[in-house]
């Protein structure tokens, strides 16, 4: 058995990515009345994209750091986009419940970027890109604890 397969065989956490549980939880948490989440053609809307899962933070691969960007898009006003963004921050930092097997340790808002597209001949699309750092922990199964 190779070194790598020995390492991974003993650490089931290495096989599992935190991407899916975090993505599902974030999308579910951002959904609310008046705000569409996802890649639709409707305005105003919120999109979750560019999730980056970093390397395993400990030797069992239980703790993960993820960076994600949440985009608030409006075709009405900058104010609408900004209000949506503030709502996103409030919702994600107050509570983020992950699917069974994962636990959220903390959500921290990072940079806010204004990518409003304006042109003389086109309708202005107000776009705010808010990045977050999320720390999660994979919880060991009963079988692994034995």
């Amino acid at each position: 058995m190779s070194l790598f397969s020995r390492l991974f065989a003993r650490n089931p956490a290495y096989h599992e990515s935190a991407y899916a549980p975090v993505y599902k939880a974030v999308v579910a948490r951002l959904k609310r009345t008046g705000v569409t989440v996802g890649r639709t053609a409707f305005y105003p809307r919120v999109e979750v994209h560019t999730i980056t899962e970093g390397e395993r933070q400990d030797k069992e691969g239980e703790v993960r750091q993820l960076n994600l960007t949440v985009e608030s898009i409006s075709n009405n006003s900058w104010d609408e986009a900004s209000t949506m963004n503030e709502g996103n921050i409030t919702r994600l930092t107050s509570e983020l419940v992950l699917p069974t097997g994962w636990r959220c340790m903390g959500v921290f808002p990072d940079q806010l970027q204004d990518l409003t597209e304006s042109a003389d001949s086109a309708k202005i699309i107000y776009r705010l890109l808010q990045s977050f750092t999320i720390w999660v922990e994979r919880e060991k199964t009963q079988q692994e604890n034995q």
Partner: protein
């Protein structure tokens, strides 16, 4: 044994009266520093300095994500507060139902430093320093 990654050499302690070793949950990295004093016995017979081997010793360091619900980490805290030595193993355990030290160092150590860092936006981390008391036993045994 062959070359391997540092991920495989983990820091374990015996919790209470346990006979098996428990991994320090959240361990990120560890250091094992072995030392031996050199006692000078130089004389005029030669212009070269001469030494004989003196006391041997070792110190350990481990960095981990602080978790006070982990019994192995609590063992370190108890070790410092109560002044009791901690039974440790640094290395790789054997596979199977009854894991035992297969490649690494076993011994008892005094906890000399426990330093917690609580940074904004990061996982709370803990750094522990230990000084080995008594013999450091190497596994597998010398042949």
């Amino acid at each position: 044994m062959s070359k391997k990654t540092g991920n495989q050499n983990k820091f374990y302690v015996k919790v209470g009266t346990a006979t098996t070793y428990s991994w320090l949950t959240g361990e990120q990295n560890n250091n094992v520093n072995r030392t031996q004093e050199a006692i000078e016995v130089s004389d005029k017979s030669t212009s070269w300095a001469q030494f004989i081997a003196g006391k041997k010793g070792a110190t350990l360091e481990v960095t981990l994500h602080a978790d006070n619900s982990d019994s192995a980490q609590v063992e370190l805290l108890k070790g410092l507060h109560n002044g009791t030595p901690v039974k440790f193993f640094v290395g790789e355990l054997s596979t199977g139902n009854d894991p035992a030290p297969s490649d690494g160092e076993v011994g008892e150590a005094i906890v000399t430093n426990l330093s917690d860092t609580n940074d904004f936006g990061a996982v709370a981390s803990r750094n522990a320093s230990l000084t080995v008391t008594g013999e450091l036993t190497h596994y597998p045994a010398w042949t």
